[in-house]
Each structure stands twice: as structure tokens, then as C-alpha cells.
Amino acid sequence: MNKEPILKIEDLCVDFKTRTGSVRVLHHINLSVKAGESIGIVGESGCGKSMTALATMQLIPTPPGLISEGSVLLKGDDLLKLNEIQMRDVRGNEISMIFQEPMTSLNPVFKIGMQISENIIRHQGKTKKEAQELSVAMMRAVKIPGAARLIKRYPHELSGGMRQRVMIAMALSCQPSVLIADEPTTALDVTVQAQIFDLLRDVQQDMGTAIILITHDMGVIAENTQRVVVMYAGHKFEEGPVDEIIHHPKHPYTRGLIRCTPHLKKNMEHEREELSEIPGIVPDLSRLDGLCPFRPRCSEKRRQCDEQMPQEIQTGDGHFVCCWAAGEDQ
């Protein structure tokens, strides 16, 4: 497992211009993923998970958004140094993305087959006919029944689960090195969710794709990823192997997240019995003061918390955390 990471995000900062001034929505995010590995990004709504993904793809609307610092290294090359034209060769080809809403993520006025083959034609210079055949093969690979017939259908004729499979077929049609799945199952019912995750695991094994799975559900992370990054208010709070994080979370926020996930709670050592939620609400990003943004909700607040933002420290093999309380435990 000591391969070089295929995608490495370093020190990524994203700012948004608003009426009241510039707001930083991502603060020096670091993460990396290796070929064939699955990592998770987890956190409450608005913490910057999607923003991290969109910044990686350089799909942040600019203006008002701007990637102001950092680098996104794909196989060692910094994507942020590419111009828009060069970046288009990366999107859908080297890095693909699937989104939360399969209902609205496909264009309602084009046939399914066209929407998949468009990606193949764009990046592999295939003819229409070859691309159609490849699309059917891809749809079979993601276990869509009656693929040859379905390419002539429109998105509204398919169920949500099927549409998400179509999205996956589209995203994988050029064998990308990295697949970013932004809450791919949130809009689907539980049985379909499980099928989609099984499918992602299968194609990953076949193709060796690196997967970045974005979710707010720790349970999903536990079942489907090897490593996890915990985010809060645009900050990375904790990162580590999934088992380690679930059994020995170091950050109070991570502990809170696990505590609200029913079937994970019991794994944590010396925890109170009841399922609880984290008190308080996510802060307004424009009101952050440069100190730990979780401070107002934190049950383990220290004196230092009001003085300085903690540095990221390593507490174990591949386990990093950004919290004064975790530092003291050492």
C-alpha cells in the first residue's frame, strides 16, 4: 500500500466573493488518494465537501468563486497550472464525477445513449457508432438490464437508481484514474443505495479506479472506504484509516459524528449509551475568526482554543488530527 498517490490535493484554499466581502470556504485542505483506493470525505451540510470536489475538477463558478492557493496534483502534474482548454481533457477522462441528484443530473432532452457516448467521442475520438457500442458495453458493466434498448430512451423514462447507474456508466466510460462520487445515493432508497455501493466496489476492483466518496453518513464511510477525511466549516479536522477513526476518533467533532450514527456508536470506546446529536449549528463562514470553528459547539474546549488555531498533528500511522484536546491526550 505504499504506492504514490494518484491524486494529491495540497493546501487548497477557495474563496467566494459575496456582497459583504470575501469568504473563505476551504482552508488549506490536504488529501490524497492512491490507485484502487477509496477515501471518504465526511461532514455536516455546508462544510465544503462538494466544494473540494468541484475545486478538484475546476468547476467552481469563477467569479464569484476562486481557488486562491494550493495545488491539485494528478500523477504529479499540477492541474491548477493547466488552462481551461487543457483542463477539459482531464474532466470526464482522467477525473470523473457523479452527483447527488440522478433525477436532475442528466439532460432531459437528450437520449441516454447520446449522453454516454458524447463523453467517449469527446475524449477518445471514436466514431458515433463505435461510441454507441462502447456505451452499451459500459451500461452492461454497470448492470443496466436491456442496455441496447435503453440507449434510445430519455432520462425521465428511467428510475432514480437506473439513472445513477447511467451516470456511473458515463463517468467511467473513459476509464478515469479518479472517480469523485458526491453523495451518490442520498436521493435513492436504501436497497438501491446498497446496490450502487456494491457496483462502485465492483468496478473499482475491475478498473483500479481511485474513488473519493463524499457523504455525511459515517455508516456509509465505514462500509465503503479505507480512509476518511473529516471536514468542518471548510477545515479538515481529522484524517485516518477508517477502522482507526471509528474506534479511536481523536477530534471531538468526529466523535460527535460517530455518536449520531446508530450502528457505529457501539464501536467507540467508553461512550455514553444514548444516541445523541451535536448541539449547536454550523457557523456562518463569513464570521469565522481564525480560531477553531468548532469551538462554540465543543464540549472539550480548552483555554488554548480561544487563543490560537491548533496545528495538525500526527497521532498514529496515517492518523492526523487538528485539535488542542487531541494534542493533550498524547
Binding site: 477539459r88 474532466r91 439532460n107 432532452v109 458524447e118 463523453n119 458515463m170
Partner: protein, 322 residues
């Protein structure tokens, strides 16, 4: 098959509508004061009561009201719209002579408004805060609030008198003879100002609609998906977004087509364009009921046909509607 079924349904609704319009037109004109024979007699400078009675029975005006109506509907069904007493010619023949001119004007204006409007709207939507976008909003507002006849007269003054590059009236040069091409160019030359005038108000409407719907579409998830495939901005906007964004424009164009025909009456009068609208105007002044009813009937027919066409093109563009 579903498509065919819904088409039949639409057509039968349309026929019913047509019948209703015939009855309504007839009623309205019947209630209106004034009688064509009175006008005719006034123009002739008086007549004997026998002659007046003779004329009344010639035009069927002495029959009872329901009788007149039934007669009218039956004749309509046979395609006989009666005789115009002011021109002393069959109404159908008169209308046919004018129909082409009106259709050329109205359809050119419609295309100008829809195409230019959509393109302006799209360009404005891509940079909603730019100077250009503000400019489009401004001319939209101006075009929308200015009365058609005012726009027409302004264009006349500007491009026909001050800078005489376009003719001020008519559809072609009187007495000009030549091949098809020179005739075509001649008509085109005469068409520019009236078509622009008629298009101006609708251009404003369509560019606003196109801008709003394009901005809406550009923010949608499937556009993000299209970008995530590495498609160029041109493909994203003019393929993925346009086909969705143009739907409300088409709906609007269909709905407003009747207003375009109404606008043509004014424009044809301002520019002496030899179309149905101009003739309708004359028919009203001379109380030529038969002719006016015929023109109203034809306008209704055109509007209904255009609405059907709009409906079908909508179905072709949007697979969700069946």
C-alpha cells in the same frame, strides 16, 4: 401512436374553437351599429327605398338573425366567405390576394424576433452582469414599451427620409419588371423596415424570456454534468443548454402569434404594406361586414394552425411531453 392520438384531439378542439370564433365574430359585428347598405347608399349619394330593399335582400340582410348566422356558418363550411360589396369581389379571392403579403411580413417578423431574441438572450445570460447584458435589458424595455406605430414612424423617419436607404411604403416598386431574383430582392428591400418594426416588440419579449430561461438552465445540474465531461463551452451552451432554454421561448411565440397578427394591422397601415391587416382596416372604415368577418375567420385559422405547429415542435423538442 400517442402522438397521433393527441394530434387528433388537438385538431378537433381547434375545429370547435373555430366554430365558436365564427359565431362570436358574427355576433360582435351584428351588435355593432351601422349597416353596410347604409354606408353604400351614403357613398352613392342616396337611393330609392326600393333599391335599398333590393340591396338588403341581395346581401341577405333582411333575413332573421339566426337565419343569417346559420347561412353564414354553412357558407363558411363550403369555403364561401361571400362577396365584398366595397370591392365587388368574392372575399376569399380578396383575402388570397393579400394573404401572402401578410404571411411574409408576419413570419419574417416572428423569425427575426425569435432568432435574434434568443441569441441576444443567450449572450446576455452568459455574462449576466456585463455591460452587454444591461444593454439588452435596456433595448428590451424600450422595445416593449414603445407603441408599434411609433417605432414604425421612427424607423421611417430615420431610414427612409434622413438616411434614405429603405423605401417608405409598399411591397415592391410599381412597374418594375425583371426576373425572379430581382423581384425577390425588391420585396426583401421593402420588407426590412416593416418586419423590424413588427419584430421589435416581440424581440424584447423573447430576449427577456431567453435570458431568464438560459440563466436558469445554465445553473442546472445537467449543465454541471456536461461541463464535468470536459465539453467545450460552445457545446455546453449551444447544445446542452439551448435545447432546454428555447422551450419557453417557443411556448411564448405560439401564444403571442395572435398578437403578432394584430400588430400587423398597424404595421401594414403605417408602411402601406398590401396585406390583410391593411384591408381589415379599410373594411372597418367602410363597414364591410362580409370582408371583415372573412378576414377575422382567416386570422383565426392562421393562429390555430400556428398553435398546432408550435405544439408539435414543442413535443419534438421535449421528450417528456407525450
Amino acid at each position: 401512436m400517442k402522438f397521433f392520438y393527441s394530434l387528433i384531439k388537438k385538431v378537433s378542439y381547434s375545429l370547435l374553437l373555430l366554430l365558436a370564433v365564427i359565431v362570436l365574430n358574427f355576433l360582435l359585428l351584428h351588435i355593432a351599429p351601422g349597416d353596410p347598405v347604409e354606408t353604400l347608399v351614403a357613398e352613392m349619394g342616396g337611393a330609392t327605398p326600393e333599391l335599398i330593399a333590393q340591396l338588403r335582400s341581395d346581401y341577405g340582410l333582411d333575413k332573421s338573425f339566426p337565419h343569417q348566422l346559420l347561412n353564414y356558418i354553412l357558407r363558411m363550411a363550403k369555403g364561401d366567405l361571400g362577396m365584398s360589396f366595397t370591392y365587388d369581389q368574392p372575399v376569399v379571392k380578396l383575402i388570397m390576394g393579400r394573404l401572402a403579403a401578410t404571411m411574409i411580413l408576419v413570419l419574417t417578423a416572428l423569425m427575426l424576433a425569435v432568432f435574434l431574441g434568443t441569441i441576444l438572450g443567450i449572450m446576455a445570460a452568459q455574462k449576466p452582469k456585463s455591460f452587454f447584458s444591461g444593454f439588452v435589458t435596456l433595448i428590451s424595455l424600450a422595445g416593449y414599451s414603445a407603441p408599434v406605430f411609433w417605432t414604425g414612424i421612427m424607423l421611417l423617419i430615420l431610414f427612409s427620409y434622413l438616411v434614405p436607404i429603405f423605401p417608405s411604403f409598399g411591397m415592391y416598386e410599381v412597374g418594375s419588371s425583371g426576373n425572379m431574383l430581382s423581384y425577390f430582392l425588391d420585396v426583401l428591400h421593402h420588407l426590412v423596415l416593416p418586419a423590424l418594426t413588427l419584430a421589435s416588440i416581440y424581440l424584447a419579449v423573447y430576449s427577456r424570456i431567453a435570458r431568464a430561461s438560459m440563466m436558469d438552465v445554465l445553473g442546472s445540474d445537467y449543465i454541471r454534468t456536461a461541463r464535468s465531461k470536459g465539453l467545450s463551452e460552445r457545446v455546453v451552451v449551444y447544445k446542452h443548454a439551448l435545447k432546454n432554454a428555447v422551450l419557453p421561448v417557443i411556448t411564448m411565440a405560439g401564444l403571442q402569434f395572435s398578437q403578432l397578427i394584430a400588430g400587423a394591422v398597424v404595421v401594414e397601415t403605417v408602411f402601406s404594406w398590401p396585406g390583410m391587416g391593411q384591408m381589415a382596416f379599410e373594411a372597418i372604415l367602410r363597414r364591410d361586414h362580409t370582408l371583415l368577418l372573412g378576414i377575422l375567420f382567416f386570422s383565426t385559422l392562421i393562429v390555430i394552425v400556428v398553435n398546432l405547429l408550435t405544439d408539435m415542435s414543442y413535443r419534438l423538442l421535449d421528450p417528456r411531453i407525450k
